[in-house]
Symmetry: C2
Subunit: 434 residues, 2 copies
C-alpha cells in the first residue's frame, strides 16, 4: 500500500473552511487506498501574530522561548485538521514535532534535523490512522523545542518522507507548481513537469519561493520523490526528482529572480593575498549571509570587491564594513539596495556551451546593463537594476523559448569574456559549457 507524505502550508489551512477542504482532500487520498501522513504549517498569519506578541515584550527574545512560542501555531492547525478528518469519519491522530521524532540540533530558530525517529508515526499509520504532524518544529538533542526556520514545514515533510520510506512527498502550496518564470512577471510562463534536485536547488537559491532550499537539499540527499502542487486544484504539479533522460533534453528549465538582496562594493582594495579573507571572515562571524561575490582584476595594484547579501542583513553588516574598510585600506564602501538578481537554471547547461552568452545577449538586446555575473555549473546569475528585473526575466524567458514544451534548445558557441573572475557560494567551478 503506497505511503504518501502530504504537506499543507499556512494559506491552505488559513481558516476553518479551508481546513475542512484540506480534510476532504486528505480523506479522498486515503479512500484511494494510500496511507497518508500529513505535515501542516501554522494557520495563515499565526506565526507573524505570535512574533508581534513577542515584540511587545522584548525586542530580542531568546531563541529558546521564541521557538516555544511559535510552535503553538502548528499545534493549533494540526489539532483542528485532525478534528476535521475525524469529523469525516476517518481515524486520525496528531503528533507534535517532538512526538513525531523530529530530532534537531540545538540551534534555536533555524535548527537542523539530525535524526527522524518515526516509530510512533509508523505505528499509528500501521494501526490505520491518518497521521498529522506539526511542521517547522522538532525537539533538540537537549530536549528543548526547536524550529527549523522559514519554510521549515517543507523540510519536516521531506525528512518524514525519507524516514518513512514514503513513495512520494507532496508539497501542497498556493501555486500550481514550479514555473519557467514567475507568472506574475511572465504571463506565458509554463508549469514544468519535472526538475532535477540540482535544478530545484539552484532555483530555490535564486529566489524561487515555491520550495525552501533546505527541504530540497534534504530531498536530494535522501532521494525523496517530491511533488509540488496546488492545494486549490487537482492538477498535477511539478515533480522534483533525480535527473533523467527526459530532463536532459531541456537545457534550460527556468528563470528565477530575487529582489531581496542588496549589493555592497568595497572599492580600491589593495590587491594582495588574504584580502578576501579579511573582508568576509568578520561578516561571517556576524552571521551575515553572503551570496554572490565578484572581484575585478586589479589595476594599479588595487581592485574592487562586490558582493550581495540579504537586505535584512545590511544593518548588521554596515558597522563591520566600516571596520573592514579601515583595516584593509580600501578607498570606500558603497551599498546599493536597488538591485535584483536574475538567474537562468538548467541541468543541460553543463553540456551545452553558449548559454551564458545567449543570456547576456538577451539582456543587451533589452538594453539592460549587467552589474555582476556569477555562475555555477547549471546556473548563470546576473545582477541588474531593481526596476529592470521584470524586463530582464521576460527577455531571458523569450530568448530561451521557455514558454514552449521541452525541446532541445539551440545554443551558440560563445564564452564569458572580459573582466570578471566569478566566484560562487557553492565553491564549484563555473560550468565548462558557459
Amino acid at each position: 500500500m503506497a505511503l504518501i507524505v502530504q504537506k499543507y502550508g499556512g494559506t491552505s489551512v488559513g481558516d476553518a473552511e479551508r481546513i475542512k477542504r484540506v480534510a476532504e482532500r486528505v480523506v479522498g487520498a486515503a479512500d484511494s487506498g494510500q496511507r497518508i501522513c500529513i505535515v501542516v504549517s501554522a494557520m495563515g498569519h499565526t506565526t507573524d501574530e505570535l512574533m508581534e506578541l513577542a515584540s511587545q515584550i522584548t525586542p530580542e527574545p531568546f531563541g529558546r522561548e521564541l521557538d516555544m512560542l511559535l510552535t503553538a501555531g502548528e499545534r493549533i492547525s494540526m489539532a483542528l485538521l485532525t478534528m476535521a478528518i475525524n469529523e469525516l469519519g476517518r481515524r486520525a491522530i496528531s503528533f507534535t514535532g517532538s512526538q513525531a521524532g523530529i530530532v534537531t540540533d540545538t540551534t534555536h530558530g533555524r535548527a537542523r534535523i539530525v535524526d527522524v525517529r518515526a516509530r510512533r508515526v509508523l505505528e499509528a499509520l500501521e494501526a490505520g490512522n491518518i497521521v498529522i504532524v506539526a511542521g517547522f518544529q522538532g525537539v533538540s538533542t537537549e530536549f528543548d523545542i526547536t524550529t527549523l526556520g522559514r519554510g521549515g514545514s517543507d523540510t519536516t515533510a521531506v525528512a518524514l518522507a525519507a524516514a518513512l520510506h514514503a513513495d512520494a512527498c507532496e508539497i501542497y502550496t498556493d501555486v500550481e507548481g514550479v514555473f519557467t518564470a514567475d507568472p506574475r512577471l511572465v504571463p506565458e510562463a509554463r508549469k514544468l513537469h519535472a526538475v532535477s534536485y540540482e535544478e530545484m536547488l539552484e532555483l530555490s537559491a535564486s529566489g524561487a519561493k515555491v520550495l525552501m532550499l533546505r527541504s530540497v537539499e534534504y530531498a536530494r540527499n535522501y532521494k525523496v520523490l517530491t511533488h509540488v502542487r496546488s492545494s486549490f486544484s487537482d492538477n498535477e504539479g511539478t515533480w522534483v526528482r533525480e535527473e533523467d533522460e527526459r530532463m536532459e533534453r531541456a537545457i534550460i528549465s527556468a528563470v528565477a529572480h530575487d529582489t531581496s538582496e542588496a549589493k555592497v562594493s568595497i572599492l580600491g582594495v589593495p590587491d594582495r593575498p588574504g584580502i578576501a579573507s579579511h573582508v568576509f571572515r568578520p561578516l561571517a562571524d556576524e552571521g551575515v549571509n553572503i551570496d554572490m561575490i565578484v572581484q575585478n582584476v586589479a589595476a594599479d595594484g588595487r581592485t574592487d570587491i562586490s558582493f550581495t547579501l540579504p537586505k535584512e542583513d545590511l544593518r548588521r553588516a554596515e558597522p563591520v564594513l566600516d571596520q573592514v574598510r579601515g583595516r584593509v585600506g580600501a578607498r570606500g564602501v558603497e551599498t546599493d539596495p536597488d538591485i535584483a538578481k536574475v538567474s537562468l537554471v538548467g541541468a543541460g547547461m553543463k553540456t551545452h556551451p553558449g548559454v551564458a552568452a545567449d543570456m547576456f545577449d538577451a539582456l543587451a538586446d533589452a538594453g539592460i546593463n549587467i552589474d555582476i555575473i556569477s555562475t555555477s555549473s547549471i546556473r548563470v546569475s546576473c545582477v541588474v537594476r531593481a526596476n529592470e528585473v521584470a524586463g530582464a526575466v521576460r527577455a531571458i524567458h523569450e530568448k530561451f523559448h521557455l514558454a514552449e514544451e521541452a525541446v532541445i534548445r539551440e545554443a551558440h558557441p560563445a564564452t564569458v569574456t572580459g573582466q570578471l573572475r566569478a566566484l560562487n557560494p557553492e565553491g564549484t567551478a563555473p560550468g565548462g559549457g558557459l
Copy 2:
C-alpha cells in the same frame, strides 16, 4: 533558600503589559532571595477562542485533539512571560507540562495527575533559573498531551509545590483572597487570614470560585501550604493550611453560594429498597454530577427524591430521568433551574451545636423559604429560590457576625427537626453539633 511556587491565572497575564507586570513581581520575589517556580495559565480568553475555533470544525472534537489544541494557550503565555523575565535581566526557562514531568492518566479534558517527575525543573532551579511551567496540561502515561480541566493550573501549581517540597504555593488571582462571603453580595465581607484544607474543600464545593476543588484536595493530601492572593496588589491574601488552634476559635469561616445548579424532584416514588440506586446509577453512567440528594420520609408508601445537579448537565440528564420515572413507577419528574445553594462552612461547627438552627433562623427572619437542606460535619447547605440568594447570603453573614474579626461566636442549642433525612455526597454523617 526558600522555594516558592507561584501561579498566575489568565487575567493576570491577559496582555503584554500585564505579563510585564507579572515579570516584575516574579523578579522582585527572586531578588528577595527566593527560588521561584511559576505556573501560568493561558492569556485571557485564549482557551475560549481556541474552543470556538474547534467548534467551527466539529461539534464534538475528540478529547485528544482538543487537548492538543488547548495546550497551545499556555505555551504562548509561558514563552512570553519567560521572555519578559529575561528582558529584566534574569535567567528564566520555560517548560511545557510534559517537560516539567506532569504525568497524568489518559482521561482527556479532565486528566488526573498520577506523578510529578520534577527532576528537570529542579535542575533548572538549582542552576539559578526562574522556572516557568505551563499550567493545566500534562502528558499521559500513553505519551499523549492531556489537560486537567477547569482550574487545572491551580492543580499544576499545588502538585509541583508538593513534588518540589516548596515552602509555599502562591495562587495569584484577581481577588484579594478568600472572603467571608462574596463581596459583590456582601460589601462588608471580610478577607479571611486562614482557612483549613477541609473548610476550603467545602467552600470550593459550595460555589466559592477562588480555588478549584481538585487543587484543594491535592493541597490537603500533600499538606501544601497554599496562599491565595491578588496579582494586582502586595497585600497578604488567605492561607490555606492545616487546621490549628487559631482557626478553631472561629466556628464559622464563611458563607458561600452557588447559582450554577438546578433542582430535580422525582415525585411519588414507591418507597422500597434499591430505589435510590435505580435513580442514581443511570445518571452516574451518563456522567451527570449529582450534588445534594434528599429523600423525604415516606407517606402512603411513596416518597419524593430531590437532588441538585449542574445546569449544564440538565440536558443530558432529562432523557435518563424520563426512563427512570417509568422504570421506578414515579408519579412525575419536576426540574427547576431557578434555585441557588447557600452554604455555611466552618471547622468549629463540629464541636459547637446549634449552628444549623441559627442559619435556619436567619433565613426565616429574612422571610426566605428553604427548599432542601444538606450537611456535612463542617457545612450546612440550603437550597433557596435563585432570586433570594443575595438576601440569604447577607442574612446569614450578619447572623454569624462574619464581618467581625474571628472571636468565639455564640450558638444556641437547637436541632434539625422534621421531615428531612439529609444525605450528602461525601457520605459522612451530618455533624453531631448541627
